[in-house]
């Protein structure tokens, strides 16, 4: 029998009164209390700062690349420098930002709270994972300083075994980052399996948890293969084992198989958590129960598993046999089904909802639009004959930026603006941040849409120079990149500014029904004073707006429906 108990921590954010309850930020003080913390929330915040820093570095590189391409011919980057720059841009963005971005930063913060647990199952391993990230980053930076890297983020042999840039340093860095990612995933799987409080059944878990769970499966199963691949590459360079080197009897196509066995599933490591965030946002800001909960949940698992069957679509033109290419092409089409299921369910959730265009929702809507374009162009690329024409052109560049940036980055921002009040206890300025979100959307499309066109017209990727006929598209793209850059800085700046000027955040500013909104903003050290009451995570009618709280509170007249 559910009796409604007034949760003392709910009133923590009431206006005027200074909060009496401690929160995780003030629980202990001093830099050591952060550096050695085992609190998942603090680790999440540290991850957030670190990944945002990496994103900034990668972003500056991107702007340099785009500036170089404003005119044909050489501006300020030699072709060699250009190669270094795009390689590091790719490596930093993929391994330092996108992969850990949502799961390790935001996931770490909200996962245990959403679950109703006090922490992840292995807090020490969690901190270890963060420091592994730091070491991995140091190695990557060292690679930049000692010789750079010009192999592309894919490290294809035999070039990567012959170039005289610091492949060993960089791959060691990525190897370490791989373990950081494995530990995060492992921790999440164990947490979800063993730390659920009573009442938190699998089908009462918010969809973000299903998504991080599916992600974690991929992290645990695929990342070790990247690890061994890189180790073999290191051995190849260090002692010439020859497994991937044709002149020693080895096989470079084998390397590509190894690499993509990890890296295609890895693109789902990037997108699945993003889809999880979007599921939360769409339901909350449509003020409607998510449509087709089970379909969305199962489709995450389906994506994770099917994602292992399609890696060969990156190798259509590189010596793979015709039979495998055909098979992989076929399987590639099948993996788009669960992604489409999600999109349709989001749309159905919004149907007849009372949609609020708060900043997170603006990002969520951008996500649906951009991810659809990215996913559909993926189907073009998955079609064998079309890919022969499009492979290694800007079409591919545009495709993966639409899914990685239009998808994951936008969802990252959506999640960041959504959970920001929870993480920091402050509300940001709504109007300016909506504007920034729209700026990001416009800048993004201006940057990458022209790349589809020029790619289809034959502009190859990874080139420092181009024929004059592509100039117009490159210039559009470069202008777009700067618009995007400014909008992104503004979006983050507005959030940071709120730390000083923002009003105090209520416990539940958006009206979500998931557990993290039941504890105060920012949450106390132990998340919940008593084990929280678990209900349907999408019963948005279980909370109602309160003027005095300036946020949502429990709706006393809410009666849980039987079927949830």
């Amino acid at each position: 029998m559910a009796t409604i108990v007034e949760n003392p921590s709910l009133t923590g954010g009431s206006p005027g009164a200074e909060p009496v309850v401690d929160n995780y930020l003030t629980f202990t003080r001093g830099w050591k209390s952060w550096a050695f913390t085992l609190d998942h929330k603090r680790i999440g915040v540290m991850y957030l700062c670190a990944t945002l820093g990496a994103f900034f570095v990668g972003g500056v590189m991107a702007l340099l690349l785009r500036s170089e391409l404003f005119f044909p011919g050489k501006q300020f980057l030699s072709p060699d420098m250009y190669n270094h720059m795009f390689t590091l841009h790719g490596a930093v963005m993929t391994f330092l930002f996108i992969i850990p971005g949502i799961p390790a930063a935001q996931g770490n913060f909200v996962l245990p709270i959403m679950l109703g647990a006090k922490d992840v199952a292995f807090p020490r391993m969690n901190l270890g994972s963060f420091y592994l990230w730091v070491f991995g980053a140091i190695y990557l930076v060292a690679a930049i300083i000692f010789g750079g890297l010009d192999t592309g983020w894919t490290f294809y042999t035999p070039y990567s075994t012959t170039t005289n840039t610091s492949v060993i340093l960089a791959t060691t860095g990525v190897f370490i980052l791989g373990f950081s990612s494995i530990f995060t995933g492992l921790n999440f799987i164990v947490t979800i399996h063993t730390m659920r409080p009573p009442g938190m059944t699998w089908f009462r878990m918010p969809l973000f948890l299903w998504a991080t769970y599916a992600t974690a499966i991929i992290q645990v199963l695929a990342t070790p293969v990247l690890g061994i691949t890189l180790l073999l590459l290191i051995a190849e360079r260090a002692v010439g084992i020859g497994i991937f080197q044709p002149e020693l009897g080895g096989d470079p196509v084998l390397f590509q198989h190894f690499f993509w066995f990890y890296s295609h599933p890895a693109v789902y490591i990037m997108i699945l958590p993003a889809m999880g965030v979007i599921s939360e946002l769409i339901s909350t800001f449509s003020r409607k129960h998510i449509f087709g909960y089970r379909f969305v949940a199962y489709s995450s698992i389906a994506i994770a598993l099917l994602g292992f069957l399609v890696w060969g679509h990156h190798m259509f033109t590189s010596g793979q046999s015709a039979v495998s290419a055909t098979m992989f092409s076929f399987l590639t089409f099948s993996v788009s089904i669960p992604s489409a299921i999600k999109v349709f369910n989001w749309l159905a959730t919004m149907y007849k909802g009372s949609i609020s265009f708060a900043t997170p929702m603006v990002y969520a809507l951008s996500f649906i639009f951009l991810f659809s374009i990215g996913g559909l162009t993926g189907l073009f690329l998955g079609a064998l004959s079309v890919d022969i024409h499009l492979h290694d052109t800007y079409f591919v560049v545009a495709h993966f930026h639409y899914v990685m940036m239009g998808g994951t980055l936008i969802a990252f921002l959506g999640g960041l603006t959504y959970w920001w009040p929870k993480m920091t206890g402050r509300m940001y300025d709504e109007f300016s941040s909506q504007m920034a979100a729209i700026g990001v959307f416009i800048g993004f499309n201006l940057t990458f849409f022209p790349q589809f066109v020029m790619g289809a017209r034959g502009m190859p990727r990874r080139y420092a120079d181009y024929l004059p006929e592509y100039e117009f598209y490159h210039q559009l793209s470069t202008i777009g990149a700067f618009v995007l850059g400014v909008a992104l800085v503004a979006a983050v700046g507005i959030l940071v500014r709120s730390l000083w000027t923002g009003p105090k955040a209520p416990a539940n500013p958006w009206g979500s029904a998931t557990l993290e909104w039941q504890c105060s903003s920012p949450p106390p050290h132990d998340n919940f004073a008593t084990t929280p009451e678990v209900g349907d995570p999408y019963a948005v009618e279980s909370v109602k707006w309160s003027d005095s709280e300036r946020g949502y509170v429990k709706n006393p007249s809410y009666v849980p429906s039987k079927d949830h």
Binding site: T201, F203, H257, F308, G312, S324
Partner: protein, 141 residues
């Protein structure tokens, strides 16, 4: 409560607290909690003896010409040994079904990885062989 069908952790753990319901028939070890299954000594020693015997067998068989069957025989013996280690030394027999499932699952992925890769390498191998042959002819000229 569908969770229960996936694993039974959703119920909270103190239900089985420290008093330990003895389901696995280890009632003769007082003070041992229910989550700890004690492997009887004779099983451990019997498994060890079988492992040693199987090692001797596989070494002995390696001297016998078995032709193409050889790899299957030696891998078969290795797999029996591996199962013995996993089931008894690693307590899989008394472990949670979830843990066993996870292990089997990982093997499926290993099979997928090795299988598809081998399939493709065998498919494109003739191209490489033909290429090597042409290069050889070129050199000979």
């Amino acid at each position: 409560m569908t969770a229960a069908t996936i694993d039974h952790t959703g119920h909270g753990h103190d239900a089985h607290g420290h008093d330990g319901h003895a389901h696995h028939g280890h009632g003769h070890y007082p003070g041992v909690p229910s989550y700890s299954h004690i492997m009887p000594l004779w099983i451990l020693f019997a498994v060890f003896a079988s492992l040693i015997a199987l090692t001797a067998l596989t070494v002995a068989l390696s001297g016998v010409a078995l032709g193409t069957a050889e790899i299957f025989v030696s891998m078969g013996i290795a797999t029996i040994k591996a199962l013995l280690v996993a089931v008894y030394f690693m307590h899989m027999r008394h472990d949670k079904p979830l843990n066993v499932l996870i292990c089997t699952f990982s093997l499926v992925f290993v099979a997928l990885f090795i299988g598809l890769l081998l399939f493709d390498s065998m498919e494109y191998y003739p191209n490489i062989a033909a290429r090597t042959y042409v290069e050889m002819l070129d050199k000979a000229k």
